[in-house]
Amino acid sequence: MKSKWLSGPYILWMVLFTIVPLGVVLYYALTDSITGEFTLANLANFVDYWPIFLRSIWLSIFATLICLLIGYPVAYYIAHCKPTTQRLLQMLIMLPMCMSFLLRTLAWVALLDDTGIINNFIRTLGLSPLPLIRNNGAVILGMVYNYLPYMILPLYTVIMKIDPRLIEAAQDLGCNSRRVFTRVTLPLSVPGIVSGITMVFVPAVSTFYISQKLGSPGTILIGDVIESQFKAAYNPNLGAALSLVLMVLIFVCVGIMNRFTSEDAEESMVTL
């Protein structure tokens, strides 16, 4: 009975800062900005922003896949190091997370800008500068850079916990190292893959700062649109409606992914 009371503060927190705000978002999304009457017009407006939704999702999926491809080998490597080395590498992975997100993104601007460090260097070599910034590639780069640790850490945790006896059992039953990986290690790391993907995809799809700094007006993301509704355009009702649609889309995406992966690993279900 005691444990019930211990969770009290958190439940109160949840109600005050998650449930109530969600209600507020819902209220704004379903009311007219001027008259305050009930309307579905805000939600219907999302059709105008459909291409931006699609671009956000597409770029985030791409960034998530790159994170997975880079992150898995790194996580695998760390998990097989000596414990002291593991701690060191884990700290290195987390170190950028201690730096401000904004600062890290601005640092990329300084690197990639047309008059930035890289292009200046290229110019001194007598070559013409490269279009490194204000395109989709730069946005994806920013996403990968910022969210990679969120992919590596859950993968590392899961891979490290795989019982080494299972690896030996697979070898014992005739698996060479490639088969040990495809038949045992990879299937058993599915829970880590699922949470890694979720933890990268969800923040990536709703980001706005990265695309503002590294993207161009032609590559704005849905996060930028929502932000501008609250700050520049001041249409919180439309902003709230778009937020709702985005939330539903994220649920759908994560749901589809879980459907694909959860057959072998029911315990891996990541609920948002």
């Binding site: 059992a169 014992d172 058993l188």
Partner: protein, 374 residues
């Protein structure tokens, strides 16, 4: 049981400069049930892992069918293992766990199905095909592990304390089951255990190990009746071990008395260890006894009483069906064939005195032995 299948020659294993195995020499015959027996940390699991291919010996050779296999990786050896705590694949169901090795070997689905079904029958798990591993009891997981290894029809099956996690009743059943499977399939079993009773029940040959060395190799009867040193005598069954002097062939002196025995070939007046099994001792009235002493404790064990008797300060364990109350003064008689003589060894004086014996002793020893050994 005829041909030699595996041979270990001068096997040495060192981890970080610590010697885990010290010149192990051993051969294992085809279709034999061989048990590596010893306390935790004696090197038995290490020996098994060397044979399985999970460890490369520091020096010495592993021969399989006459060929050196030191450098052959585990997955290329015709040896399968039943791991301690099973190591079943949690992401696969019972059927897929058993079929794992066959799928790797790329057998046809038809053959896989036949062999898995046959195996499920042998281990009495029919109808469990699609069960999750986590939903099985310890005994069922155990049988899946055995089926998963045996379905590949290995030449040799290695078993690393496979019954350690099961309760007593199930353990007895599985002992019989394993012996039956081993005889039916004609496969060499190399079995690791710290449980001497298990070893005596199941094995054709027992290898007693301690401190990384082989202490004795022999049939269960040999090991029990003719222990080579105080360690083996104490580890296999209960033993009273006394200091004695071998006066001549078949004549030994201990407790200031001469006894007839059946052992020969010792030096004249050689100091020896004398082993007397607690169940071989006859209790008689004090005036008829070769030795007389006072009963200090009696524990009822079901079949017999564990009676501790104080002979001039040295306490013996006597297992008898006759109840002698604490404090009674009794005599004992010893027959020549019940007195076993051993050369002195590094273990002399370490075992065989029951001064500190208590009923809990067995359980404590079991609990320690059950721990993991790396």
């Amino acid at each position: 049981m005829s041909q030699e299948l595996i041979r270990l020659t001068d096997l040495v294993m060192e981890f970080d400069g610590e010697r885990i195995l010290d010149s192990i020499n051993l051969y294992i015959k085809d279709k034999e049930f061989l048990t590596l027996l010893g306390p935790s940390g004696c090197g038995k699991t290490t020996t098994l892992r060397v044979i399985g291919g999970f460890l490369t010996p520091t020096s010495g050779d592993v021969l399989f069918d006459g060929k050196r296999i030191n450098d052959v990786p585990a997955y290329k050896r015709r040896i399968n293992t039943v791991f301690q705590r099973y190591a079943l694949f949690p992401h696969l169901d019972v059927y897929d766990n058993i079929a794992f090795g066959l799928r790797i070997a790329k057998h046809s689905e038809q053959e896989i199905d036949d062999r898995v079904t046959e195996m499920l029958e042998i281990v009495s798990l029919k109808g469990f095909e699609n069960r999750k591993i986590t939903s099985l009891s310890g005994g069922q997981q155990q049988r899946v592990a055995i089926a998963r290894a045996l379905v590949n029809r290995p030449k040799v099956l290695l078993l690393d304390e496979p019954l350690g996690a099961l309760d007593l009743r199930l353990r007895k059943d599985m002992q019989n089951e394993l012996k039956r499977i081993q005889q039916a399939m004609g496969i060499t079993f190399i079995y690791v255990t710290h449980d001497q009773e298990e070893a005596l029940t199941m094995s054709d040959t027992i290898v007693v190990m301690d401190k990384g060395r082989i202490q004795q190799i022999g049939t269960p009867e040999d090991i029990y009746n003719e222990p080579k040193n105080a360690f083996v005598a104490d580890f296999i069954g209960e033993s009273n071990i006394l200091d004695g002097i071998m006066l001549d062939d078949c004549r030994v002196k201990f407790f200031g008395r001469q006894f007839k025995c059946v052992d020969k070939g010792f030096d004249k007046n050689e100091p020896v260890d004398v082993v007397i099994r607690p169940e071989d001792i006859d209790i008689v009235s004090a005036d008829e006894g070769h030795l007389c002493g006072t009963v200090t404790s009696v524990t009822f064990k079901g079949v017999h009483y564990d009676t501790i008797v104080d002979f001039k300060g040295f306490k013996w364990l006597i297992q008898t069906t006759d109840y002698c109350p604490v404090g009674s003064y009794i005599g004992i008689r010893l027959n020549p064939e019940d007195i076993h003589i051993m050369h002195k060894s590094e273990y002399s004086g370490m075992f065989g005195d029951y001064s500190s014996y208590s009923a809990e002793y067995d359980e404590i020893a079991d609990a320690e032995g059950g721990e993991d050994e790396e």
